[in-house]
Symmetry: C2
Subunit: 309 residues, 2 copies
Amino acid sequence: MSAPSLSTRQLTAFVTLAQERSFTRAAAACHLSQPAFSALIRSLEDSLQARLFDRDTRSVQLTAEGRLFEPSARQLLGDFAAAVGDLHDHVQRRKGRVHVAALPSLAAGWLPAIFREFRATWPGIELGLSDILSDGCIDLVRSGKADFALASAGTGVAGLSTELLCADRFWLVCRADHPLATAKQPSLKALARYPLIHLSRNSSVRQALDAALHPIQAHSVLEVDQLATVMGMVEAGLGISIIPALTLFHFERDTLVRRPLAAPGLTRRIYVVRRSDSSLSVAAQTLHDLIVQRMTAARLQPAAARSLA
Amino acid sequence: MSAPSLSTRQLTAFVTLAQERSFTRAAAACHLSQPAFSALIRSLEDSLQARLFDRDTRSVQLTAEGRLFEPSARQLLGDFAAAVGDLHDHVQRRKGRVHVAALPSLAAGWLPAIFREFRATWPGIELGLSDILSDGCIDLVRSGKADFALASAGTGVAGLSTELLCADRFWLVCRADHPLATAKQPSLKALARYPLIHLSRNSSVRQALDAALHPIQAHSVLEVDQLATVMGMVEAGLGISIIPALTLFHFERDTLVRRPLAAPGLTRRIYVVRRSDSSLSVAAQTLHDLIVQRMTAARLQPAAARSLA
DNA sequence: CACACTTACGATATTCGTAAGGATT
DNA sequence: AATCCTTACGAATATCGTAAGTGTG
């Protein structure tokens, strides 16, 4: 009743012998001595409890049972090769799928170049990106829909592990004709006097900013949801804004200036968040490593240089 | 590129571990010590060149690659079991098909009881019977459409082997009111004076009879194709006939008498004919053996007793 | 007697189970 | 400390290749 132990070697030997109709030739084709090959066929027949070949000294022929089994054996070997081949394709990153969840501020400005590079290197890997707020990112990772997330929160959630990706410094953005435009590194105190355009409170950028500014009372004039809107408002002269370096690309216009703030602790921390109970797939690990590597490389250069590149 | 050697033991170990998520429990389920089981999983991972499990001391989880491979592994094991099970069904005669070619004179009278017995013992085996003349029987065997034949010819045909099944003695049949009806064992000479109903010359019965009678010139009155017609003609009083013992059932009527001929060499020989290059399937061999066995048993009794049974 | 498969046999590899090791809770 | 997987290692098993055996045309 219990399934006998069979190996692909036995099946390969079987179909080779069925095709060659000669132990000597089939043994050579399998890189075995003829007696060893003979024993291999015998072991298969013993396992199956069925005589598969009529071997006369003069001819080797499949028995009726052997003829019955041959198509199955070929099919099984083919399925085997397909399954193993598919696995190899994934391990060698010719196939696969990676889904990343990332804050919108990262998804628009910083990730595209990474994705382009990844896609050029591994064209067979499908990419997915959920550009949503931090809580949504965490949920996607926890539920397994995303391989990992680039988000601000995530520390202390059971089953997830976090790794600091970068501390994203805050920058001032204002109109080129604004009084602050002349300061190379404006101080926080200097900013406090001017109307500030905020992102809404459920944004991770805003949360990080509030936490960083904490003792200081900002002069808030407007809250919006999208960084692109912040840019429009600033350009229209409604106020200034404070935004992380990685979102500066929204503000790269001649009418605006961007200045790193003098307070070095004024950062939002971005983490790589992933499930702690399961390793990343080969493809996901590759993308993860690329993200970390490119981020590390970027930090070695002045942030301004990158944002203006 | 070359396919790695995998065994069903490895696949079974894999799916067991994937299900149990514990080396200790999975090893027990596979009747192996835990270290041996661990080595088995390792050997599979080495063969596939892919890590299939994340094993922490506290938890065992499939990797992304393992999750990819699991359905394939289950499918492969299922296909394996199905193929082996099907083979076993055939070897153990729960499934199969046997096709016999047999002379019409055997197919109608002697074979039905054999087939009934075979079918009662092996209800899963499909039976096929071609009740045709000897040449057609030989062709079916040579082409592989029939497993073996019960026929008169077949000796000396390349690629076929023949085995004598029986020497079928010729009997006289005549009306009960015929002069010959009183003789217990009429001689050939006595018969020669009466009109004889013949089968047509392409019948093996006729050929055997002609060969056996050779020096004697029979007094032929009529040739027909079917033994049933011979019976009708004899019963109608057109003549007598000489037919093999195994066809006597056609003539079992009160109006007729049947007498064994005094010439013991007057027989038609019936052979089992089969391909010499290939053994019989298990099912065909079983039917073959049954046929030989029942024929041998029948020969130990008086032929008359059988024909009248 | 030549050819092809099987058997015999010593050598090498693999696989096993027991026991010790290491890491985590 | 307890649990679970891995490593270590000697023993049992399996498999290999060479060489001799066997049977058939």
